[in-house]
Symmetry: C2
DNA sequence: TTATTATTCAACCTTTTGGTTGAGGATACG
DNA sequence: CGTATCCTCAACCAAAAGGTTGAATAATAA
């Protein structure tokens, strides 16, 4: 059904591509700089970046002779929502957390800051 | 690095396998019943189930001559946590949501139900 | 026992994936 | 201008993925 979901999960399935995404979390980077830490040809990295772009996980913009790669974390929303359909695994469950906070308020315990409802 | 993450994301990248997971959300099923709605050989479905099992997304248990497939939603925790490392995409962000609810309480607006704090 | 049902295995095929190398198009620099 | 740098394209390759069919195994049913 959802070809986009196919593309996103497939893009995330490769460790090199996940590493690239983590690098881009720190800062935008040009292609050559992205490639630098990897023991792999520049062309290979270029292909990985195309896969990531087609999945919407990064955006690439050419400025001068450098092509800048920028993380697009909003693309993770779709797979995240899909996963949340499976419910109970989720570290943060909306309903449970809302109930928890409501209970905190009612009991007057004003120390609702750092507690995690397990 | 994480071969498990590789396996999980790769397993989720196929629409047939995602459909199987959705089916198993309703109930445990035997292999033949899983295969029934798909226009595909039983052997193909059997392979898909093996992929899902190796990723930890389902468990298979043989009882009699039927092999029951059971969803293991906890396997989604690892990819979910990995994704949360990218932050702002997340539909439910603990800190943001807490601030949002705190604001709701202070302003006395009791309609905190269906709103998404963007 | 024999037959039927449930599932996997083995061999095979085609397409995709992830890598290589070498050439080539832009853009910047001297 | 000529040359170096950045990046992609094209052709190629090996391995993996996703499918098929037919035989094999295992458990139930008659």
């Amino acid at each position: 059904m959802s070809a986009l979901l196919d593309a996103i999960f497939a893009a995330l399935a490769d460790p090199t591509r996940r590493a690239i995404l983590s690098m881009l979390l720190e800062d935008d980077m040009a292609v050559t700089d992205v490639a630098e830490p990897f023991d792999m040809s520049l062309a290979a990295i270029s292909k990985h970046l195309i896969v990531l772009e087609r999945a919407g996980l990064i955006a690439q913009e050419k400025r001068g002779r450098l092509k800048w790669c920028k993380l697009e974390p909003s693309a993770l929303k779709l797979p995240s929502v899909w996963m949340q359909g499976f419910g109970q695994f989720d570290p943060i469950n909306l309903d449970d957390f809302e109930k928890f906070l409501a209970a905190e308020i009612k009991t007057g315990s004003s120390d609702a800051s750092g507690e995690e409802p397990e």
